[in-house]
Symmetry: C2
Subunit: 143 residues, 2 copies
DNA sequence: ATAATAATCGTGTATATACACTAAAATAAC
DNA sequence: GTTATTTTAGTGTATATACACGATTATTAT
């Protein structure tokens, strides 16, 4: 990922994928001290905002495939950051943060803000908004 | 991936990742008749343009992690679309398309163009360019 | 020519992603 | 209350992604 002379491809998809990998790399590095990827951080944040929440609801809100989320939850449960308080024998999971999970978010938030500022400093307020609007336009296209 | 009421997150990274997943889904569906993902199509196209090419060169051009590319090449080699013509005992691989690979690109190109047009029809010429420029700005930030 | 250095490549491991499929629970119809 | 339907969840499989590490080839210095 260390090539110079970067230039756009003609492929809109490839350009977006490259930018996504790049920004993910940036956020991941900022969050590394907390041992969280940006994807994991996102799951924690959304869980925090919606708890207790089912897998399906959470997936819909994050806009991840449900089965992807099922796998992504595993490391977070293993680390004791998220747990399920649904009584056994029921189908709806009720995912909640643990105390450790809440602590971790607190720490990670500070690093996340640094990453946010880094990006916005680079793009400027105006371009950041423009980008956001364009990305949403694309997202809406997906089935 | 079928949520309505989509709205932007405050997180620039998440927004980009969502858009990337969405556009990848779109291109993948367009390319499905050719049994290629957009990622695989991209590898084929770049190989075609650079052959014979080493793994490192190719990774740098596509801007994928080299070890990621090593794995991604496997299915394409298995399908007989790409092969390595480097003499045994040497270190530099010389990746080339096979005849089947060239054929496949030809087919896939038509579908890819449909996807391109779909996106550009939705965004318009102007916004497409704007988006491209902003994405490049982000890509350049990565280490 | 040999030793030191650099470039190139692959694997182990872990997470991320999604489609096809199955299974179980919850709800609705009757 | 039982049956039918819908909702919810998980697994098998395959690709995608990248870091840490090791190994081999190529190049450079001496």
């Amino acid at each position: 990922m260390k090539t110079e002379n970067k230039k756009s491809s003609v492929c809109n998809c490839l350009n977006l994928r490259r930018a996504s990998l790049a920004i993910t790399e940036i956020y991941d590095h900022y969050l590394a001290p907390c041992q969280l990827s940006v994807s994991q951080f996102s799951i924690l944040k959304h869980t925090h905002a919606m708890e207790p929440v089912s897998v399906s609801e959470l997936a819909a809100e994050i806009r991840l495939d449900r089965t992807t989320l099922v796998r992504n939850l595993k490391p977070l449960e293993r680390q004791g950051l998220i747990h399920d308080i649904a009584p056994p024998g029921t189908r709806n999971r009720q995912l909640c943060l643990t105390a450790a999970g809440r602590e971790r978010i607190e720490q990670a938030n500070a690093y996340w803000e640094l990453a946010q500022k880094r990006i916005e400093a680079q793009l400027g307020q105006e371009d950041t908004k423009t980008l956001q609007a364009l990305l949403l336009k694309i997202e809406v296209l997906a089935p």
